[in-house]
Symmetry: C2
Subunit: 392 residues, 2 copies
Amino acid sequence: MAAPGSITLSAVRRVDAIEPFRVMQLLERARELEAAGRDVVHMEIGEPDFPSPAEAVAAARAALDRGESLYAPSTGLPALKAALSDWYRTTYGLSVDPERILVTPGASGAFLVLYLVLLEAGESVLMPDPGYPCQRHFVRLAGGEPVAVPVGPDSRYHLTPDDVTRHWRAGSRAAVVTSPGNPTGTVAPRDHLEALAASVAALGGRLISDEIYHGLTYGETLTACALELDPTAIVVNGFSKRWAMTGWRVGWMVVPEELVDPCRRVMQNIFIAAPTLSQHAALGALAAGDAVRAMCAAYDERRRYLLEALPELGFTVPVAPEGAFYVYAGAGGLADDTTAFCGRLLEEAGVALTPGADFGRYEARAHVRFSYATALERLREGVARIRAFLGS
Amino acid sequence: MAAPGSITLSAVRRVDAIEPFRVMQLLERARELEAAGRDVVHMEIGEPDFPSPAEAVAAARAALDRGESLYAPSTGLPALKAALSDWYRTTYGLSVDPERILVTPGASGAFLVLYLVLLEAGESVLMPDPGYPCQRHFVRLAGGEPVAVPVGPDSRYHLTPDDVTRHWRAGSRAAVVTSPGNPTGTVAPRDHLEALAASVAALGGRLISDEIYHGLTYGETLTACALELDPTAIVVNGFSKRWAMTGWRVGWMVVPEELVDPCRRVMQNIFIAAPTLSQHAALGALAAGDAVRAMCAAYDERRRYLLEALPELGFTVPVAPEGAFYVYAGAGGLADDTTAFCGRLLEEAGVALTPGADFGRYEARAHVRFSYATALERLREGVARIRAFLGS
């Protein structure tokens, strides 16, 4: 207790453990440069540059006309849960009880609830390094311990069954797979996912499958839903990426039946419900059907361009990404520390990239993430600027 | 660790500590009765029965037309933060730096972030019993300990400076005031609030002022913003009640400068941002000005009706509520246990009330909460049914 009068509240340890996103500082600096008249090529942002589907916007408009402004039920509009159940059938051939589908404020909301429900203080979750930075922060905020397991090109940057077995310890509860991955864009093949699920199940844990980039895959690449391979897996997904609906904040998770009630209790308290209008928009998006196809064609063209251009600049791309909108590139031959490199690239060349350090520690300072959620002509401009920067 | 093959995940202790809302079970049963053709008078629901302001809906439509579907900045649209800062000036004569205003997914989102930032494991927050049930659940989910302090009519159901001093202990970090209160609707007079703030500050803690029902007060009643009396107070508010915008999920908090960055870091991770479209709607609501006045007139008429009718039925209302849309009534002369009483009232008379047990333990089984977020003619019908039920 502080002495009377000396109020010395500081953020607590678990917040201290949350590193700030370097990319946010870069983005802020980029905005300053832009405000001062500089042009910046944004290859740092992980947000689709496409509008939300017209069907989603139309559904939102119709809901506004009907005056839909009350709370939705805490686990989501029944119509949306039913439509998502249908979507699992048509997309993966899976039969998923709508009651097991919980609609959340973005996929972020799903992870938060999940870790609050799954973890006692100090229990741990295995996850790949490099990986989505919020993943480890969710675990910490819930009082748990993230176990970052170094992954590399050999496993297409995914945890292997052997990784799970070697890093599992007393108090480990789950392992995470994100396929297509962030920052790597790589897809875990079906047999890999199946072996991974089996290894986690054998240890009495759960596989948590982050499927937020499903549907954004290129060429002949197919992504299996973890539920096809492990009916007890926990699946997190959302409308932000595949349907280009980031700002609406609607995601969902599919959980085993015994977790439905605990999750609902947490959701009732911390969210009350996901935004009602956004849930109607999401319903519209599901009816849109092919909305995703044109986006995928554009992403794929950009991806192929970068896979050609980056090696010519001196970056290495040991595994060609087949999904999401990222290329995780080695920059070891170009820079000692990519955090400093990204800073200079922004200041001197007007190109924003995300340094590897945002995604973990393992060889992080030798890597950068390129996002191609940016128009092809801007990517070309960015590549030209990097070429000039490196040649100077 | 479970044995291989025996997956025995159960909800963790902090979830077990979250009691289910009895009102939700009642509501569910009410829906069943309605589906079977029964008519139910809903005096249990704490949600405005008015549409969102036309200006809010128009602003949402305009944002849809402009294609506003991307993430908002993590602490809110700058225009909304500026408009809220203006609102503090015109409403309370307060100058609040927009940077200290953090826009959240509902007031719920604000409380969650706040307790994640403020509390180390086991640290405690003082709060009134009876009180808003989620308050203690937020604290528990953040790993803290809610300290429920019995409050009664003498203090208008608010914590007193003496309560704070007596219940404060090592590891106490904050005390909560909700004025107008839920479930009581009572307002803490300005001098009470001032003395309360001083008592918390003297102990080195923070006052957390839940102002979600501000603006919904009747007669000459005025509610002071805690920031008028204590510039270091933390204020939580939102658009759900005063502007009848529950389903949009937009709230905010005002925090001391040193908490802005820790809160932002948590918000970036767990929410990314509050829904963009809803933030535009909120901007419209702030411009609406008098939208709240017609609602208040209707609420006040209902309030005065209940304050007359309930004592005639045998309920006691020791403190006439001046705000929100609740009457917390003693039912000690009518029932031994209001949880059972509310169940029978629903089944036999078709009237839904919230039992006191949802709001805490102190004399909870001798109280019920009436919500008057229901049309006057329905309240009359409900009262008639209760009269018949009690007389039978």
